[in-house]
Every structure is written in C-alpha cells, then in structure tokens.
C-alpha cells in the first residue's frame, strides 16, 4: 500500500485561500504601518496651514485633516498603535488566559473553582465604566489603557480553555497517555495544548477584534490613546466630525480598520482548520 502523506499544518494552511489572502493583507498592513512614516516625506504631526482639509492629491495621497496634517502619515501611525494594542492583547491573552484556563480545568476541585471565581469577579466588573473611571481619576495615560485592556482580554480565553480542558481530560487518549507513563506536564503540553489550539485561536479571532473595537471606541470618546499618539479609532473619531465636507478623513482610517478586522478573522479561521488534521483540506 502506498499512500500520499497526510498534509502538514503548513500545507493545509496554504490551501486555505481566504487565510492566505488574510495573511498577505495583514503583512501589507504591518509593513505599511512600520515603513510608511520613516520612508515617506510626510509628517503626521505638523500641520500644513496652506492645505487644510484637502481631498487626496499627489502631495497628500490620503488628503489632509481639518488642521492640515497629512492623513496617510496619520493613518500609518494610527495603524501602528492599533496593531500594538491588538498584538499585546493577543499575547497577554495567550500568556495568561491559556495557562490559567488549562490549569483550572486540569486541577479542578476547589483550586480550579477558586481560579474561575477570580475570573468571574473580574468579568463582573463593568469594563467600560472601569476604564473611564481609571482615566478620569489617574489622567489619560496610555499605560492605564493597556493595563485595563490587559486585565480584561485574558478572561474570555481562560473560560473557554477551561471548559475545553474539562471535557478533554476525561477523554480516553489522556488515560492512554497516563497508562504509557506520561507525566502530567507531558499530557498537558503534548496532548491537551494541540487540541486546545483550535478553540483558542477562534477565541482570539473574537477577542482581538473586540479589543481593537474597544480601543477605537474609547479613543472615539476621547479617552483612549492621547495626542500626539493616535490610533485608528481616534482617526475615525476625528474623521467623523468632518464627515460632511471631508469624507476621506473618515474613509481611509475606517477602511484600514475594517480590512484589519476582516484579515484577523479569516486568519484565525484558516489557522484553526490548518491545525485540525480532520478538517477537510
């Protein structure tokens, strides 16, 4: 019997057309955010008093805003901030939420229960209200915003991972691994983590866009990232005010935000399918 070898996760991922496209879009967005400000002779901060609220033109490809700042440079800057927020949120969720949920589910009993009660309490706090309160008391500081978002993003993931772990640990292949003599660490890392990866990625695909939207919303309220820094949400906020006479000031940041959210969604979906050898290639 000769058979074709089962495709590796990477091969499976490459066959997923939407995910491949999403990865390209994401790479292009990242490159744009990183390279546009230093490479282009455009300044996101200093206004050009001669050219206020001009539509896209060769000197300002995305036009300028109400005080004459170049929108291409500002969009790139905002995108960089938003990617930073999204990336750190994803990293934090993975570093805290995943192990937390895995341990709570595996240990179970009173300890696991206590770990989940902590999650419950944190989740019961009205996040937006808390964020606004923090900003009002301690001033509008970017670190505070990151801390507030960070304290929030890992909760959903911990919950999802724990539920998944609870059902996985009763599965027979875990018993089979123990019968082989596998240590707890080995079972967690070699058997449970790969099973959890799919669900965790899908959860991240929901959590990260949510964080981006929350940050955008806070920035829209004027409570998020503060000048001279700017995020896509803040740009949308500024653009929305001048929407009637300068629609490009809204269209470019909003378009980038939508592209980013969609790319993240398809990327998560593609990764999940790629990691599951049973999903149709």
């Amino acid at each position: 019997m000769s058979r074709a070898f089962a495709p590796s996760p990477w091969q499976r991922f490459r066959r997923h057309r939407a995910a491949r496209g999403a990865l390209l879009v994401l790479a292009a967005l990242t490159l744009f955010a990183l390279l546009a400000p230093p490479l282009l002779p455009l300044d996101p901060h200093s206004p050009d008093w001669e050219r206020i609220s001009v539509p896209p033109e060769p000197a300002h490809p995305f036009g300028t805003d109400a005080i004459g700042r170049d929108l291409l440079a500002r969009t790139a800057l905002g995108l960089r901030t938003t990617l930073l927020v999204a990336g750190s949120a994803a990293l934090l969720a993975l570093l805290v939420g995943l192990p937390w949920g895995l341990l709570a589910g595996w240990v179970g009993g009173p300890v696991g229960g206590l770990m989940m009660r902590i999650v419950d309490v944190l989740q019961a706090l009205p996040f937006l209200f808390l964020a606004i309160l923090l900003m009002a008391v301690f001033g509008r500081r970017t670190e505070l915003l990151f801390a507030a978002i960070g304290g929030y993003v890992w909760l959903d993931l911990a919950r999802i991972v724990r539920a998944e772990t609870l059902s996985l640990r009763e599965r027979e292949f875990v018993l089979a691994a123990r019968a082989l003599g596998a240590s707890t660490g080995r079972i967690l890392v070699r058997h449970l983590l790969p099973q959890l990866a799919g669900g965790a990625l899908v959860a991240l695909g929901v959590i990260v866009p949510k964080v981006i939207l929350i940050e955008s919303f806070l920035s829209y309220l004027g409570l998020g990232i503060q000048e001279p820094m700017v995020s896509l949400g803040g740009l949308v906020h500024e653009g929305a005010q001048d929407m009637s006479f300068a629609p490009w000031a809204l269209a470019f940041p909003a378009g980038f935000l939508v592209a980013l959210l969609l790319a993240l969604h398809f990327l998560a979906e593609g990764l999940r399918d790629a990691l599951d050898p049973r999903s149709p290639a």
Partner: protein, 530 residues
Amino acid sequence: MSVPPVLELEGLEIGREGDGAPIVADLTLSLAPGESLGLIGASGAGKSLSALALLGLLPPGLRARWRRMALAGQRYAAASAALRPLRGRGIGLVFQEPLAALNPVLPVGFQLAEVLRRHLGLARRAARAEAAAWLERVGLAPPAAFLGRHPHELSGGQRQRVAIALALAPGPPLLIADEPTSALDPPSADEILRLLVGLARERGTALLIVSHELELLARHCERLAVLAEGRIVESAAAAELLAAPREPATRRLVAARLGPPPRPAGAATAVAPEPLLRVRALRVERRARWLRRGSPPILDGLELELRQGEALGLVGPSGSGKTTLARALLGLVPVAGGSIRFAGSELAGLSPRGWRPLRRALQIVFQDPGASLDPRMQVGAIVGEGLRIHGIGRDAREREARVRAALAAAGLDPDCAACYPHELSGGQRQRVAIARALALEPRLLVLDEALSALDAALRRDLLALLDRLRRELGLALLFISHDLAATAWLCERIAVLEGGRIVESGPRDRLLAAPAHPVTRRLLAAAGLA
C-alpha cells in the same frame, strides 16, 4: 405468493453526487407482511445507506435511484420530498443509538403520546392510555413506572424498547431497524431482537433489520440477505444460509464466526509456575463521596491470578465493574483496599513516580480506538510516545525502527506511521492501539473490551493476532469482555465478574459445559453457547 408484499424494491442504486462508482448497485428485495429479513454485510457494504435511502434520508452528497419501489401497493419516486409522507406512518425507523433518537428533556410517555396524537389523531387521554399499552407491549411493565421517566433514567436496553414502541406506534407496514443492538451488551441485544421480531409478526409488520452480527440475526430472522459489492448476492432462510453458504461473500461472513478455540500447541505455551499478577481482596470505591454513601463499592473482595504466557478471560454483564478493574490494575483509579502484586511489586497505593518504571511491563488497550488515540498525532508519534517517555532506544532512528516493528507485529503496514487516526478504519485503529502497547514490550496486556466495537471478521483477525502474540512473546493477556464467545476462543481460563466480585472462575471447557452461576448461564445463552 398469495399475500401481496409490503415492500417491493427493485434496482436501488446509491452513488455520490456527480460521478464515482456506485456504493450500492442494483439492490432488489421484497418483504411480506410479518416477515423479518436480516440484511447483513461487512462494514462499509452500504447496509445502512440502503435502509436510509428508502426514507429519503441519505447524508448530503449521496443520491439514490431505483427502478421501482412500492410500499403496500403504492409506488414512490426516489426523491426526498416524495418520501417524506412515508416517514413515521409508512416506514418506522429504529436507530443504533436510542439516546440519540429520543428527546432528552421529555418523559418517554409524553413522547409516545405525542406520536400517537400526531399520527393517529388520538385525543390526549386516549393517547396516554395507548402509550401505556405500548410500554407494556415492549416489556416495560408496569407502564405507570415508566411513563414519567426521562431517557437518561433508563438503561440502554430499556431506551431501545421505547424507541421500538415509538417506531411501531403509528402502525407502519414496514419497520427498519438500523444496527438496533450494536450499542447493547449481548443479553440485552438478544432480548431486543426477540421483541422486535415477535412484535412484527404479531402485528403483521414487515421487518428489515440491518446488522453486521450474523450470529444474532440468524437466530432471530426468518430470512437473511447478504449485501456485498453493492448488491444482494445471496438471500435464503437463515438456517439454510448458515449451513450452506453459496456465494464467496457469504462464506466469508460465515467463516468469520469463531470456530472452535485453538488448542494449546503442546509445550509451545510454557506457563510459568509463579503468578505474574496476583490480586487479593481488591476494593475500589466510587469516586464522588456523595455517590459512595449508601451504595456498594464498584469492586469488592476481588481476587484473581494470572501467569506469564497465559490468557485469562474476564466476562460479566454491563456495570459489573470490568472496566474499573482494568483501570485499577493500571493505577488509573485509586484503590481503596486489598493488594495487587505484579512481577514482585505491590501496585496498590503506588506513587506516580513508583509507577513509571512498571508502566513498560503493564499495558492496556482500550475499547474505542477512536477515543483512545490522540486525533492530532500521527500514528508513528502515537506508537512511539511510550518509547520517548521511557527513553527506550538510543536515537530517533532506532525508535523509528521499533515503531515500525511494533506496527508490523500488530499486522499493520509500517508506512501507516504517517497517517492520522481518522484516516484509518476501526480495525486498523485498534491495531495501532495494540502496537502502541507492544512497542513497550510489556509482560501483561490488559484488553478492556478491545474488540467489542469491531465487526465479526475484524474481531476474528485480531483474536488470532492476540493468540499469536501470547504464544510467540509469552505475553500474559487479561481479556475483559462481555462477549463470551470471543473470550472462550482466546482464553483457557475464564472468570465471571458480577457486582464487583468474581462469582465463578475455572477452565474454559468446564465453565462452558457446566456453568454454576446464573450470570454465567445468562451470558452463555446470549452468546448462543448454551
């Protein structure tokens, strides 16, 4: 024929949408009122698909066509919409897994009454009375005790009885039972088939039973039809088919039945004098404290002995503690009392660290390889995991060689190492599980219902494999099963477990010839060995 047939099916063809070879080609059968026909065939022959096609319930991607299909004299086209009125009133259906067919949140009496009201237009009160009558008919008496129960409060056999009542209540002229007993232990399976055939005959319902268990069907059905290569290759009275199979496919099925047990080949099986495993007064409690109160331990005062190179069969009905024993022997559930001595070490109360070196010598194969193999690992990694854990083999190359040797010993193509479990058939998967155990070169192999999920031909192949491993490697086998026929084939000594203790044990021939305990006699009867 004086009585017109209930079902006439001519030239049924099932194929994938688009092109591709048909799965079922030119299947023709007919059924008289009250007649029971067993449709039998190897796994994947298209038995269940043929049954589902009659109701227009094929899974997406498959299409059915027929030259002619008539039920009770009326012709139907092979389109889902045309067949919809048949479901329920025209053709009743009993599934393999009754828990899936019953609504988990409604009492069974309510579900029955609902069917009666909908299909027969009975009033609420009349429907309830009729529902009670149906429960009694399917042997759930007194009905008052069962009407208000939910499906989870019934045993598997009782649930299947409810499912039968549900299917028969609207009075369909044809009842199709798709593997109705595969999820049940042999005594319940036997009773369910007797009930099905009896009720069908009594009510003049034609009965089509799809199953891979030839033995069981032959005992209950009047006629058997063998499905192979997409068509019915042979159809005859049950006894005749068993006695004189004409077609090769039939002969293969008949041959897959277990023959006489292999005789010990003289000195080939040298049985050591000292027992390898000695269990004394073993007690295992229920895990949750609230379950423990007032209920007896799962295992209590269990004793057994097993020598190197010996196969001990452990049989018992569902819930007798077989699986718990297997897990207690492997330290997977805590032992509450007693002693387990294995190869000079005491296993009861051993720490995980103390267990580690012993794991190599004591291995297990679980019932369902679909569950016991990690779905995200390739076969090579699964079989090689124990080697890596115990640091066996100098380098990756030597481990790979050992993995390939273990796969070959389990009767698999070593190139399978690159497959994922879901790409293999059920029988191949169970061989992977056996290879995983063999890779560690164990002295004792515990098989927990390891062959119960396989069809007869695969079961026989794997029994022969186990017997060969015992002889050639001097492996001790603890074969745990509810299938007495398979156990008797493999094991020279059999112990019967009931209520957490061994109620009878002894040499196979003595046990089969003169069973002392009623549980043993029941198991024998269900296996057709009495």
